[in-house]
């Protein structure tokens, strides 16, 4: 559509008609950005507004839902399910911290010691993720079962410390979350580390910094944008995940994702499901906003986009 309008003026056109291309050239950036805005409007703004709208309805699936601006649904949602919401955030934080602790050294090693095998190593890292998410999680259930590989082995060497079970506990859920989302942590950190000029490390060495100091004062600060992005990309999906808690969880480990799923698919209680989703989204957005203001840089956002 824009292409036909934006044709260059015909050769030999009268100078008086020069204003047309000038207007077009001023509009061009807006026209170019239009598809992006339309995309956002269609797939973000419209769904959000309709979700907000649904969350304020009352009724039931049989008789239909009507708009009554029933804000009390939010209070009900929080009162009934705040345990699960808070639990999701806590699990999210722990799993994200673990992901960074485990992922940082891995990313570091690949970035600085990977040499010509870098891309193969990254590929190996992603290899397990070609198998379905659910199937891998089910396998963890098998591995962690009471007489499975982990506990069975530990028990046979008497290192189980009286642990009765791992499966169906919070440990299994957080472990599953960490395992499933760690590539989202490693890749941004890797990108951040990869951008560091090795000459800077030599410079640090020349200035008598030992390896630990170099890491602390040069490498880590320079990689912060990557870490920032990694935390964002990990925490958000982890906090709203519902597969791990369903498969690896037990009686006091339900996360809010499961509750939303049940409200939506089983109870057909769309307003409550929408309200819960909105609460979760609001908490995540506020959290991210604060986090970005405190730690973020424009660099970090760039990294998140990379």
């Amino acid at each position: 559509m824009t292409a036909t309008v934006a044709q260059p003026p015909a050769v030999g056109a009268a100078p008086a008609r020069n204003h047309r291309p000038r207007i077009l050239s001023r509009l061009a950036p807006y026209l170019l950005v239009l598809p992006g805005w339309l995309w956002l409007a269609m797939f973000f703004v419209v769904p959000i507004i309709s979700m907000l709208s649904v969350s304020l309805m009352t009724g039931n699936d049989l008789a239909g839902f009507t708009q009554t601006f029933h804000w009390a649904t939010y209070a009900d949602a929080w009162n009934q399910y705040h345990t699960q919401i808070v639990r999701s955030l806590i699990y999210g934080l722990i799993a994200t911290a673990l992901c960074v602790l485990i992922g940082y050294p891995v990313a570091y090693w690949i970035a600085f010691r990977g040499g010509r095998y870098k891309s193969s190593l990254l590929f190996l890292l992603l290899l397990p993720f070609f198998v379905s998410f659910v199937i891998r999680t089910l396998n963890w259930q098998f591995i962690l079962s009471d007489h499975g590989m982990v506990l069975g082995l530990l028990r046979s060497v008497h290192l189980d410390f009286g642990v009765q079970r791992i499966d169906s506990t919070a440990v299994a859920v957080v472990g599953g979350l960490t395992y499933n989302f760690i590539p989202f942590t490693i890749l941004p950190i890797y990108v951040g580390l990869e951008r560091i000029d090795p000459a800077l490390l030599e410079a640090a060495n020349d200035l008598y910094a030992n390896k630990a100091t170099t890491l602390r004062k040069v490498v880590f600060p320079l990689s912060l944008p990557g870490v920032f992005a990694a935390v964002l990309l990990t925490f958000v999906p982890v906090a709203s995940d519902y597969v791990n808690a369903n498969i690896l969880g037990g009686s006091d480990t339900t996360m809010v994702g499961t509750v939303i799923e049940t409200q939506y698919f089983t109870n057909l209680n769309y307003p409550l499901a929408a309200a819960l989703s909105f609460i979760l989204m609001a908490i995540l957005l506020i959290g991210i906003f604060v986090y970005a203001r405190v730690l973020g840089t424009s660099d970090a956002l760039e990294m998140a986009a990379a």
Binding site: I49, S50, L52, S53, V54, L56, M57, G59, N60, D61, L62, A63, G64, F65, T66, Q67, F69, Q80, Y81, T83, Q84, S145, D146, H147, Q164, R165, D167, S168, G249, G250, S251, D252, T254, T258, V259, T262, Y264, F265, T266, N267, L268, Y270
Partner: protein, 421 residues
């Protein structure tokens, strides 16, 4: 005449009202349209309002007159719920194809009523799309009631149910959840009781209260649903669920809340494996499941607790917009021949809807030359789980029917937070 006369109207408006800046204008427009969007939408209900074919015998007859056999049948059932031969073949379905020429595409798509209804049936039927199934198996209860109320099931052709009316048991003929068998014919029935490993538990379990034994902490499984879990708990507190009242529900919820710290997990279909492997010592269980796993773990037992237990029936029914309803009708009646019912019951070990199978099993036992076969058929023909006696039936209760939305909401808000803890 006013002084404004003669001025162009747009200029006049500009003089008499504050001009909106572009930004303010956009804000205002955004706000009104947002408000408009929020207010205008609603989600239409799906109740049929008493319309549809129900009660219109003529319409039903005319509908069925038009339906011809097509030679194809799409059948959705639960896992491990039909006879299986080596290699995953289903002999009864093969026999059906041989006798009728109808090819069956059999899928084990139903893991539980909740998710099958919520993610497969509801979205399709609501938008007027066929589900892709001609025949499906739905448990009596909330979801079957919903399907009927929404007019999402095709009423059966009563003139094509000869085998059903000749051989079906009293339990499934004219049942309370589908008077006159307008929409359904039973597939199998079952009991929700307690399955346990007698060696690991160390003693016989007789009561629901045995599932509150602190010694079994972390080794107890319960169901994650709004039918079996609450109705069993109602039995546990000594109430007949069918006639229970909200005060009883609170007592049952209390019972479950007290038990929760001991529960390993609230399961859907996946409790059976951990029970057979000994990760669970005792669990809420379905009668036939435990029987099927005896081969894997001979220490497994199933008990109907002394306080009573829920009994349920899974029902064959035809979803609206099915492409091959006549073929479905032929199949439904076909499985009510005692011989066929025996083929299925022999494998699934649930309460069969055809009592005549008991004689078939007794005969098999009498004629069996193989010792193991003899033992198996003797057991089967006497099993109280496949053929309960009158006195045992007295302990079994149907689910509470939640007839109003208010009741359903109260029920859900009491029991859901327990298993989604």
């Amino acid at each position: 005449m006013s002084p404004a006369d003669g001025l162009p109207p747009d200029l006049l408006r500009g003089l008499t009202t504050p001009r909106l800046s572009r930004r303010r204008f956009l804000q205002a427009a955004g706000l009104t349209s947002l408000g408009g969007v929020l207010a205008a939408c609603g989600i239409p209900g799906t109740a049929s309002g008493g319309g549809g074919m129900y009660g219109q015998t003529d319409a039903i007859e005319r509908f069925w007159k038009r339906q011809k056999k097509t030679g194809t049948l799409d059948f959705a059932n639960w896992p491990a719920y039909i006879d299986v031969a080596k290699g995953g073949d289903h002999p009864s379905l093969d026999l059906f194809t041989k006798q009728t020429g109808i090819k069956v595409s059999y899928s084990e798509d139903i893991d539980d009523d909740d998710s099958f209804y919520g993610s497969k049936l509801e979205p399709e039927l609501k938008s007027g799309q066929p589900t892709g199934y001609d025949l499906m198996v739905i448990t009596n209860g909330i979801f079957l009631d919903d399907l009927v109320q929404r007019n999402w099931l095709i009423p059966l052709d009563q003139s094509a149910m000869q085998n059903f009316y000749s051989y079906s048991s009293d339990l499934v003929r004219d049942p309370s959840y589908d008077r006159g068998n307008v929409y359904t014919m039973a597939w199998q029935s079952g009991i929700t009781g307690i399955g346990y490993d007698i060696k690991l538990v160390g003693h016989e379990i007789t009561s629901w209260d045995d599932l509150k034994d602190p010694k079994l902490k972390g080794k107890i499984g319960m169901f994650a649903d709004t039918e079996d879990l609450p109705n069993s708990a109602l039995c546990a507190v000594g109430v007949n669920p069918e006639v229970s009242q909200p005060a009883d529900w609170k007592k049952a919820a209390q019972w479950l809340t007290e038990q929760r710290p001991l529960v390993r997990k609230y399961y859907q279909q996946d409790y059976l494996q951990p029970l057979a492997q000994g990760e669970l010592y005792a669990s809420q269980a379905w009668s036939g499941d435990v029987f099927q796993k005896l081969e894997v773990n001979p220490n497994l037992r199933f008990v109907v607790p002394k306080e009573g237990a829920p009994i349920w029936t899974d029902n064959m029914c035809i979803p609206k917009l099915a492409s091959h309803p006549r073929d479905a009708m032929i199949y439904m009646d076909w499985v009510y021949q005692p011989k066929i019912a025996a083929m299925i019951a022999d494998y699934v070990n649930y309460l069969t809807p055809v009592p005549a199978t008991q004689q078939i099993f007794a005969k098999e036992a009498a004629q069996a030359t193989d010792k193991a076969d003899k033992k198996y058929y003797t057991y089967l023909s006497h099993s109280p789980l496949v053929f309960p006696t009158q006195s045992e039936f007295a302990k079994l209760h149907r689910y509470r029917v939640l007839s109003t939305q208010a009741e359903q909401d109260q029920w859900n808000s009491l029991f859901e937070p327990i298993y989604e803890s």
